[in-house]
């Protein structure tokens, strides 16, 4: 790597390495050199930050493990739920994909203080069953609570005013009547698909736990959820519950 180049060139090289989720400084000499330089050179750090900001990216972490970036609101790099599953943009599918993401994070970080732990410590792998159980039990509890209440009207359903948990429960019910074995796989498949896509983004690796397939969160995923995603979504939810503030204000 030439050191005579402009800091902007070096900064943009570092950002492009950060956009390759599977690259590691330990394996790429240029990446390693840039990360070391990032710590030593204040001008480079400022430039990386400005550059990332202009591109719509948060720089969450820079370490010997690499650069962890996260998209800002409306960034060109933001993967919206509508683009997550090719060929499907139905509200129900989007909703279930989003809920699966939150359920995965909640399974990896079961306690609030887990979010405060050192991201270098490897967290336990999760299985599709664990995530599904978490979601299902929660939905069943909410369903139980709503038992005495009148059923939602057809008009409410049409206008999307019924509760989100009903979507999950409906999906399971409607398919169980046809073929219960397939239905089990279908509900699990939403989560399995989410985990598989997260693997492509360098957030999980697949491991074997005895005869079962499990998903090991990577350091990158831990940083993303701990530093930003967990608290940012919490803020959005809190704002939504507390008043008519528009979502996105609390992010970051």
């Amino acid at each position: 790597m030439t050191t005579a180049r402009d800091p902007v060139w070096h900064a943009s090289r570092l950002v492009q390495w950060g956009l390759r989720p599977l690259a590691r400084p330990a394996q790429e000499a240029e990446y390693r050199e840039l990360v070391e330089r990032y710590f030593d050179d204040g001008v480079l750090r400022n430039t990386v930050r400005e550059l990332a900001d202009g591109l719509g990216l948060h720089v969450l972490d820079v370490s010997e493990h690499g650069v962890v970036l996260a998209p800002m609101e409306d960034s060109i790099f933001a993967l919206k739920p509508a683009d997550f599953r090719p060929g499907s943009s139905k509200v129900d599918d989007r909703l279930l994909d989003g809920l699966a993401q939150v359920a995965i994070a909640a399974t990896v970080f079961p306690r609030a203080r887990d979010l405060d732990e050192d991201p270098d410590i490897v967290r336990s792998p999760v299985t599709v069953d664990e995530v599904e159980t978490q979601l299902r039990q929660l939905c069943e509890r909410l369903s139980e609570e709503a038992r005495g209440a009148p059923d939602p009207s057809a008009d409410d359903e049409r206008r999307g005013l019924t509760e989100a948990w009903r979507v999950y429960m409906q999906r399971l019910d409607s398919m169980e009547t046809r073929d219960s074995r397939k239905a089990m796989r279908a509900t699990r498949r939403i989560i399995e698909y989410a985990l598989d896509r997260l693997r492509e983004f360098g957030c999980f690796t697949q491991v074997r736990q005895g005869s079962e397939v499990a998903w090991q969160p990577t350091r990158r995923y831990q940083v993303i959820v701990q530093q930003l995603a967990g608290t940012a979504l919490f803020q959005l939810v809190r704002d939504a519950l507390n008043g008519p503030t528009s979502p996105g204000e609390g992010e970051g």
């Binding site: 330990a26 939150v102 079961p110 609030a112 909410l142 999307g160 983004f201 930003l228 979504l233 939810v237």
Partner: protein, 518 residues
């Protein structure tokens, strides 16, 4: 030193007492209460709490030992306490080195120990059983039973007013950590290092000085094997010391608020610098003494020479680490200033931290579909990280369309025949006595014999595998047409004869004494 509540994994002796989480049993942080010596009462000496806390750290090991008796019958003969200590030994020994210990390394080291325990119990060693036992050990040390959270031990102390108070101490012993290479490695907590090194009451500085003094004295008294052991201990201390300082720098880089840079960190760094200078002096002394010893030692004392050379190597390693550390200490202040500048703009997690299931997932499930969908539309991208927008490239498309078809991968690989003329070089790898022994077995009575007979005779006479290998190589050499004149024996194939030996497989050969011209 650390401001956050739960950095219980932190490494470094200075953190051992304040790097742990102390909570009252109802789960409320109670950091102010835990400091050793603050609970002074008439019936409760000041340092009793500290001693109590030290003792609590051994309970997970005690638990492991107790579980020996209730484990599956086939695993009961293993002494889990001894195995756990050996495991800590491996992990601590490799700490800070490029090749930090992982499951594979631990397995490699513990397998002979497990096999020895098998033999002592009259059981045949079994790799599968060893793996199962290692799983149990790791699970016990990592607290797998509680989802690998820190161990939690409750105890009572008496405060200044004479009132008994319950506390809960949380600590880790061993945990999985991400290594920059992408591997998962096993790391000991500071507490585990203290436990293992039996230095719970000492500062790392003192311990290292003591360890080095022991090396010096052992060298002087000619107790070389012990000196190697002590030098190894001194190196472990050196690794811990280095990690302590690097942890401060890492924490600062990660989150400048985690480290107290007003008072505590500068004090530790200054102390470290002074300590380092003292240690480097002592280590140079040891190295000089070891080198002098080596010069005057007679060659006959090969064992002692090896031990002293090992002491010198270990000490050189300590010196190298300390030299690197010295460099980092000199630049430490800049790390703080840089980190402060860098982190001023970093997005900060909102406090208090949410319980993701109760505070995020459940409210989302309760929301009307439209609202939840809208929120997830904003929140979803944060969980997956940035995706790469794809730009179309006409040039790339044309190149792709014009590229020739890829050749189909070859299904078979030709096997190159072994050139028997190269066997001489192969033979020279064996010591002369082994070659001579093999030659003896090939002086077959009656002029000729089958290779399988020669091999089985040699094996019956107690020949080592190396001798059997040389026999096979010599016969192969005799089989090669080019070497007929120089070979020890002549060999030819016999139709349909198969050689089935534990070491070799193939066509059996008829061996006869060679008509050697020289």
């Amino acid at each position: 030193m650390t401001k956050r509540a739960a950095p219980d994994h932190q490494q470094g002796f200075a953190f051992a007492s304040d790097g742990q989480t102390e909570v009252t049993p109802d789960g409320v942080d109670d950091a102010a209460e835990h400091a050793a010596g603050t609970t002074v009462g008439e019936g409760w000496p000041a340092d009793l709490t500290r001693r109590l806390r030290v003792l609590l750290h051994t309970l997970p090991l005690d638990g492991l030992r107790r579980s020996d008796a209730i484990r599956d019958a086939e695993l009961r003969h293993y002494d889990s306490l001894a195995l756990a200590l050996r495991m800590l030994d491996v992990v601590i020994d490799r700490l800070g080195l490029e090749a930090e210990a992982d499951r594979e390394a631990v397995t490699r080291v513990l397998r002979p120990v497990l096999a020895a325990m098998d033999v002592a119990a009259g059981v045949d060693p079994s790799p599968a059983r060893h793996e199962r036992m290692l799983d149990k050990l790791l699970a016990g040390l990592r607290n797998d039973a509680d989802a690998r959270r820190p161990f939690r031990e409750e105890y009572t102390s008496v405060n200044g007013e004479g009132a008994a108070q319950r506390h809960a101490l949380e600590f880790r012993l061993l945990f999985d950590a991400f290594h920059p290479s992408g591997r998962t490695v096993l790391r000991p907590s500071a507490e585990a290092c203290n436990l293992y090194l039996r230095l719970l009451d000492l500062d790392v500085e003192d311990a290292q000085a003591a360890a080095e003094a022991v090396v010096e004295s052992q060298l002087a008294r000619g107790r070389f094997e012990e000196a190697v052991h002590s030098a190894r201990q001194a190196r472990i201390q050196s690794v811990r010391f280095r990690d302590k300082v690097l942890q401060i720098l890492r924490d600062t880089r990660r989150d400048v608020d985690r480290v107290d840079w007003k008072v505590e960190a500068p004090r530790i760094l200054n102390d470290s610098l002074a300590h380092l200078e003292r240690r480097v002096g002592v280590e140079r002394g040891i190295l000089g003494a070891a080198d002098e010893r080596l010069e005057v030692m007679p060659d006959e004392e090969a064992g002692s020479r090896r031990a002293v050379a090992q002491v010198a190597d270990l000490t050189r390693d300590c010196l190298l680490r300390h030299a690197e550390l010295h460099e980092q200490l000199i630049g430490a202040r800049n790390v703080f200033l840089d980190a402060q500048a860098r982190q001023a703009f970093a997005p900060r997690p909102t406090r208090p931290l949410p319980h993701l299931s109760d505070d995020v997932l459940e409210p989302l499930l309760r929301m009307p579909i439209n609202r939840a969908d809208e929120l997830l539309d904003h929140g979803f991208p944060l969980f997956v990280g940035p995706r790469l927008p794809v730009l179309a490239s006409l040039e790339g498309l044309v190149t792709w369309m014009l590229q020739p078809r890829r050749p189909r991968p070859r299904q078979e690989i030709d096997v190159e025949p072994v050139d028997a003329a190269d066997l001489d070089a192969e033979l020279r790898r064996y010591p002369p006595e082994v070659r001579a022994a093999a030659g003896e077995f090939l002086n077959v009575e009656g002029g000729e014999a089958m290779l399988s007979e020669v091999l089985s005779n040699a094996r019956a006479s107690g020949a080592a595998n190396a001798v059997l290998e040389v026999i096979a190589l010599l016969v192969l050499q005799g089989y090669s047409a080019e070497d007929r004149d120089t070979a020890h024996v002549a060999a030819q194939s016999v139709d349909g004869a198969q050689l089935e030996d534990p070491l070799f497989y193939g066509d059996d050969l008829l061996v006869r004494a060679a008509r050697r011209s020289a």
